[in-house]
Symmetry: C2
Subunit: 356 residues, 2 copies
Amino acid sequence: MATVSKIIPVILSGGGGTRLWPLSTPERPKQFLALTGDQTMFQMTVARVADQTRFAPPIIVANVTHAKMVERQLADVGMDAGALLLEPCARNTAPAIALAALTAGAADAPLLVMPSDHVIADLDAFQRAIDAAMPAVTEGWLVTFGITPTGPETGYGYIEVGEVLGDGLQRVSRFVEKPDQINAARMVADGNHVWNGGIFLFRADAYLAALAAYAPGILSAAKLALKNAQFEGAIVTPDAVSFGESPSDSIDYAVMEKSDRVAVAPVSMGWSDVGSWDALYDLSIKDADGNFCLGDVVQTQCENNMIRGAGLRISIAGAKNLIVIAHGNEVLILPRGQSQNVKALLALHDGDEKKV
Amino acid sequence: MATVSKIIPVILSGGGGTRLWPLSTPERPKQFLALTGDQTMFQMTVARVADQTRFAPPIIVANVTHAKMVERQLADVGMDAGALLLEPCARNTAPAIALAALTAGAADAPLLVMPSDHVIADLDAFQRAIDAAMPAVTEGWLVTFGITPTGPETGYGYIEVGEVLGDGLQRVSRFVEKPDQINAARMVADGNHVWNGGIFLFRADAYLAALAAYAPGILSAAKLALKNAQFEGAIVTPDAVSFGESPSDSIDYAVMEKSDRVAVAPVSMGWSDVGSWDALYDLSIKDADGNFCLGDVVQTQCENNMIRGAGLRISIAGAKNLIVIAHGNEVLILPRGQSQNVKALLALHDGDEKKV
């Protein structure tokens, strides 16, 4: 049996989501916030692959505007990046991973691609799923990790699992777009579907070959952007014009849904994408009355609320099932279960600002 | 019939209530806030007695720390005070009114004593009640205005009305302390009780005579404080040591409940003491969804809330029946109907501050 080379983690930190506004902002998106503990989501992601017996130093892909924040947050936890790729603009995940695969060095290096803003509570389960995937990865399969559903969520894509390829690994039968409630419930009930968690494992050359076959424009743009890149130690700044000309597409659309050597490792590992304030409330450790309070909060007779104050003092009495987030000069208030309304509120803000 | 001298309004502005925190603070209590319109409660009170054919310039009693605010708010509405009495410390209403009565000039001048933080929507009804009271006032009676109850409120004192003394005027049969819910309901149902609104009409000499009989310590302290006062135009600053030695008591306890020449003019005049955020919500003009929003508020799908932002932006979606008040670095959140909890929250703040 050949020596298996170390896995190279590829940490995708280019996102700028606003679902956790007002904490998450374009200047400091979710992955760079300490939402579930003392460390930021990014730092927790890096720590997840700190075992040097298994993992090489990570390749980090981030937006160029967040370069200093990435470096500071790495330094805070005493980690070094193998490479820090600074995207001059956002082109979704397929081009970002292309940059990483082209930077990886060894063509057969297995890349573990992970968003930097997910929670994985059960690391042992994750490791076992990685182990289950490795034989197929070595043979050139593209592997995605399929999260065992805990409910009929409509906010995720689903994967229908097919033929068993090995212990803990199955062929992907079909990718399913974010479903409606009825279809979500049906898929969860049939036991044959998992959530698409956006975590992948494959050889660098397998991904690049798939890009060449299914998304050659992305591959050529990434190559040109790296050819004309600036290099400064571990920091790589791809050429903005070349990278900007790349099609913008997700790895799912560009590659995974098209290749026929795509497998899924189903795993139950306490995963969450912390995609809303409600999701964060669910993850938080509450007091006996079901409240999660952080910061300058004064409360009495409150039940089942999430109340986070930063810079402002929140005084709240008799409230039930509320989400209250204060940050800077912004105060967000939602009933629990309605945190998807953040988007509508932000759209109203944009309206305000256009009027000014 | 003798010429009736003009009524001298006595406006009591010494209160420092905290029930409308965080807008109301010791530095800027409720009466100096614009809560129901463009004018402050104090300015609306002054405007209520602006008719110079009926009223002399008002005597204003305020805490010395609010002197500049009183002068500025008077100037804003183009009003002059007949006298501005600056209390060096708070000694409740009986000593404050003693200062005013001793300053009034003519001994037989009728004094209309009014808190500066009440709403009176129906001024004609108030004027008619004043007219109804005047004959008894001229004869030396102490008259209080009794608010026709609109519900079994437990936050007010009640007055049991007795023998009819004239058109719209009855002898006070009994003062009743703030009742419990059952007694409040009983009193409202029997139609024989009115709320004690804290508005009074009497001759200066009648009040001073009652003080001499029932609260001589208050009278002598007020006299000494004025004897040693500083005078500067209309501004009178009573001597702090003398005034500080006065017993602290309300006009109700010190005089009204003891004198036997006490009458009540029952009146329904759209009165409110705006004693809570709930009371203010009730007074506010709401939109079609029952919301009252003021300041930098961005909302969608909200119903029956009062949301006031000052300096902070409040973004709120899907909320029902909430009171949200942002001011400076403070955010207050309460379900409607629970605004009495402001006191409990403030007590928790005090606890915090003691710990520091």
